[in-house]
Each structure stands twice: as C-alpha cells, then as structure tokens.
C-alpha cells in the first residue's frame, strides 16, 4: 500500500484562515495522507485540530498522530513563532522518538 505525503509551504498556510487550515489538514489525513506543514500550527490551532478530530472519530478513523517542533518565542515574548507540524492518520503513523529539534516517526501501511 502506498502512502501519500503532502508538504505544504508556509506561503500557502499563511494565506489560509485557521479553520481553512484545520479543514485542509484533517481532510488530507482522513484521505490517508501525511501532511507536513512548513511553519506549523500554533498550540491553539493544534488544540482546535484535536477538538475537530474528535468530532469525526469513528470506527474507520480512530484519529490522528501529530508531532511538531515547539514554537519559539518572538518579539518581546508576545508573538510565538511556530516551526513545523506533521499530522498523519493514527492507523498509519506513530511517533517513536522526539525532542526539541528531532522527530522520528514510523509509517506503516496495513
């Protein structure tokens, strides 16, 4: 079984509203893709993504696996700079190791 991967540029992400981003990610993941976002999602967006995912969990879609580098504090510690977020279907992707600057994931097709 092949697994498709979408790498989304920061320019494309910036042009979307929060809900458009979340819908785009979740639709991709539900279609079996692994979505990698350059620039990533904020913590608030990730929490909203968890919330949105929970409304769509069913027998065929148990949820998502998500990993990302923690955001960096920006100017005057007010603006946080997000870095990278990887989201995939929970059935396919499993994070096996991660720290501040490294994500190691296992992707297995069933």
């Amino acid at each position: 079984m092949e697994i498709k991967m979408d790498l989304i540029s920061e320019d494309k992400i910036i042009s979307m509203t929060s809900i458009e981003k979340l819908r785009f990610v979740l639709d991709g993941v539900k279609a079996g893709k692994i979505v990698i976002l350059e620039g990533g999602l904020t913590s608030e967006e990730q929490m909203k993504l968890i919330e949105l995912t929970m409304t769509e969990v069913n027998e065929d879609f148990p949820g998502i696996e998500m990993s990302g580098y923690p955001s960096k504090k920006g100017f005057l510690n007010l603006r946080r700079k997000t870095r990278l977020t990887v989201v995939g279907p929970a059935r396919v992707m499993r994070t096996i190791r991660r720290d501040r600057d490294l994500i190691s994931a296992l992707i297995s097709a069933i």
Binding site: S43, E44, M47, I50, M54, V57, S67, T95
Partner: protein, 259 residues
C-alpha cells in the same frame, strides 16, 4: 498576516481582562482543572485531594486501569486547602470512630485559641479555596479496539470510544473557565508528547498558571527527572497520588501559584 495581528490583539486583550479580573474581581474560589493524558492518574489525584481536605469517604470518580474511565468532567466545589492545619497547634476534629493519632491533620482543623491579626494574615496565605475539576484525558486518537483489549465487548467498546471523544471535547471546552491547571504526567512514560506540548502551549497563551505533577513515582521505572528536563520553564512536583507521597509539596506549590 492580518490573522496574526488579530490573534496578538486577542491574546493581549485576554491578558488584560485576566489582570483586571485578578485585581478587581478576585474570585472567592479558584477553579483548578486536573488535566493530562489518559491513565496519568487524574481521578486518583482528585480523590486524594478530596480525601485530604474534605472527607475521606467521598470519591469524585472511579480509577481503573482502563483508559478514558472519566468521560465527563466532574467538579467538586469549595475545597479549602489549609497548609497551616498540619504544622500549627490545631486540634483536629477527626472522623468518628477513628483514633486521634491517625486523624487526617488537614481535615476540619480548628485552632485552640483565637488567632492574632498576624496569625490570620499568615493563615490566609497558607489557605486556598478551590473547586477541583477532574477532566477526561486528552488524546489525539481513540480506537475502540484498545478498549476490547481490556475485556470489553465490541458494542461496549464502541460506546466507550464515542463517549471518550465527547470527553476530550469537554475537557478542551473547560479550559475557557479554568483559573489554574495541575497538569498530570505519568513519570514512567515519555513526557515529550504532542498532547502535553499542546496543553502547555495553550495554557501559556491563555496566561493560565500551571503546576506539573510528575505522578506514579512509587513505580520502579518512574523517572520524574525526565519531566523536569523536558519542561524546565514550569514547576514540576514529583508525587504519587495513589500512595500520597510528596503531596505536601504539591499543595504548597498550588497555594503559591493559584492564589
């Protein structure tokens, strides 16, 4: 970019309204949420707090080894965390039928003589009135097959999975009404999970104070140091909610941070 500016304004507004609330509309009782991943021991901790400060016979919920046992947020109101009760010359009105030597020192503490104004000030600093909110575990995936591994039949497992998803949403919604968070992590597990990072990021963004409790230190493979190393910017208190180890340190940290 407009979205970023809007978010920044919203965050500043959130901080200002929180500051105004703290300065002028201080709540009598702070709502403290116990958050964390499934099976971290949230209900065990909530029960421990209630047993210590309210009644040894009241449970807020049931703890089992099955994840997502708590699928609805449960609130227990008006818990007085009184740290002076243990060390000051109090006499305890113990639970009926128990020997005075085994009485819980925190329960129903009454001073021997009326306290002076200095004593009252010190006591106020050592007291914290809270509502405890035991929340369902936060997760990014809920597979009904996982519940079947614990012996549940398929129909029951599917029902539980559905309720668990609703529980996660409820826990997230509760963040809008929470004044402080005890974030519970399992010391035997890797703390650097996306769920933990997302919770911490959200609490920081909302300006909600938090204490991280590294639970299950009674287990041989526990490593609270991993949690301390992973989140050095936040206070981490190693505890065993089940055995009651180091709980005083957690209560002191709560009294300091959630005032």
């Amino acid at each position: 970019m407009m979205g970023d500016e809007k978010k920044l304004r919203k965050r500043r507004k959130g901080f200002l309204s929180r500051l105004i609330r703290v300065l002028f509309f201080r709540k009598i009782s702070a709502k403290i949420g116990i958050y964390g991943p499934p099976n971290a021991g949230k209900t065990t901790l909530a029960n421990r707090i209630i047993h210590t400060f309210v009644d040894e016979n009241i449970d807020i919920g049931i703890s089992t080894e099955i994840p997502h046992e708590t699928r609805r947020a449960v609130r227990h109101e008006g818990i007085l965390i009184d740290l002076k009760a243990k060390s000051s010359p109090y006499r305890a009105c113990g639970v009926v039928g128990r020997s005075p030597t085994v009485q819980n020192p925190y329960l129903n503490a009454i001073p021997n003589s009326p306290p002076s104004s200095t004593q009252r000030l010190q006591e106020a600093k050592a007291k914290l009135k809270i509502d405890i909110v035991d929340t369902p575990g936060l997760a990014t995936k809920i597979d009904f097959h996982d519940f079947m591994a614990y012996g549940l039949d398929e129909a029951e497992a599917k029902k539980r999975a559905k309720e668990a998803t609703e529980g996660v949403i409820e826990a997230i919604k509760w963040l809008d009404d929470i004044d402080g968070v005890v974030l519970l992590m399992d010391s035997t597990e890797d703390p650097y999970t996306q769920t933990n990072i997302v919770i911490i990021g959200n609490l920081e963004a909302r300006g909600i104070p938090m204490v991280i409790a590294a639970n299950k230190i009674d287990l041989v493979d526990a490593s609270p140091q991993r949690i301390i190393d992973a989140f050095p910017q936040h206070p981490v208190i190693p505890i065993s909610a089940l055995k009651g180890d180091n709980m005083e340190d957690l209560y002191e940290e709560m009294a300091r941070d959630f005032r």
